[in-house]
Symmetry: C2
Subunit: 137 residues, 2 copies
DNA sequence: ATCATTGCAAACACTTTGCATACGC
DNA sequence: GCGTATGCAAAGTGTTTGCAATGAT
C-alpha cells in the first residue's frame, strides 16, 4: 500500500496520520506474523530512533479502537496485533512463536454461535507446530 | 465430588493432595464461570485465612501442567482457569465478566485444522453478551 | 492560539522467584 | 530426617498514566 493510501485509510478512521502511526500501521500490514508491541518497538527503533514504547501502545490502542487492527490474546504473557479485519483463525507456533492466519468458512462461524447469546466477535486459536517447524521439533 | 475422590484424582496426576490444592481444585470444579487466580484467592481467603497468592499460583500451575486444568487467555489482562478437559468453546460476557462453556461438535473441530500444521490444542472464544445480560445492556 | 501527539519517568496489575519456615511421609 | 509445599517479600514483565515538551492546523 502506498503512503498516500495509508494516510487515507487512517484519516477515514479518525486517526491523524502522523509519521509514527503510519510506520506502525505499515509495519503491521507488511509483517503478517502478528507482532507484539515490543517487536514493533524494537523493529521501528532501528529505523527511526525517536520512537518510544508509549507511542507504540498509544498507536496500537487507537488502531484497535478504530477497528483497523485486532488484538490477539493467544498467549497470556503478551498481546499481539493483527491488521487483517476479515474473519479468520490464528495458528500460534510454539517453536518459532509466529502467528499465522488460516481460513474459516462462514458456515463454521454460523454453526459456532451458541443459542441465546449475542456475539460480538469470534476468535479461533490453534496452538501447535507450523509447517516450517513440525519436522525439526 | 467427594473429598476422597478429589484426593485420588490429584494423586493420580502426581499432585500431592494438600489442603490448599484440594480447595483450589474443588473451587474450580464447583464454579464453572472460569475464575481468575485472584477471584479464587479472594474467595478462599474468606474460608481459610492462611492462603497466599503464591500458593494459588503454584497450585494453578501444577494443575495446568498435570492436564487437570486448562488456562484460558480470552482476556489479555488476566488468565482464567477451566477444570473441564473435554473440548468445548468459551463465551466471555463483556457485561458480567463470566465465561461460560458451549458445545462444539467434533466435526467442526476436524474441519478447523489447517493443512500442513500439527495442532496441539484448539481454543474457540466468543465475546459478547450472555443470555442473562443481553437484555439489560 | 489551540488542541492533539509524543515520550520520558513513574505507576500499575498480574505473575514469578528467592528463600526461610512448616509440613508429610 | 528429607524432600516437598507454603507464603512472605521482592523482583519481573507487559501495559497504562501523569505531565511537560513538541507538533500541526
Amino acid at each position: 500500500m502506498a503512503e498516500n493510501d495509508l494516510n487515507r485509510v487512517l484519516s477515514s478512521h479518525g486517526i491523524r496520520p502522523t509519521l509514527q502511526r503510519i510506520a506502525v500501521y505499515k509495519y503491521l500490514l507488511s509483517h503478517p506474523v502478528h507482532p507484539s508491541a515490543d517487536t514493533i518497538y524494537r523493529s521501528l527503533s532501528d529505523e527511526f530512533p525517536v520512537f518510544s514504547r508509549t507511542t507504540i501502545y498509544n498507536t496500537l490502542n487507537s488502531l484497535v479502537k478504530s477497528g483497523l487492527v485486532r488484538p490477539i490474546n493467544i498467549q497470556h504473557d503478551e498481546q499481539r496485533f493483527d491488521s487483517t479485519t476479515e474473519d479468520h483463525g490464528h495458528f500460534f507456533c510454539i517453536k518459532c512463536n509466529e502467528i499465522s492466519d488460516f481460513d474459516i468458512t462462514q458456515k463454521i462461524l454460523d454453526d459456532l454461535c451458541p443459542e441465546g447469546y449475542q456475539n460480538i466477535r469470534v476468535d479461533i486459536f490453534i496452538t501447535g507446530f507450523c509447517p516450517k517447524c513440525k519436522d525439526k521439533q
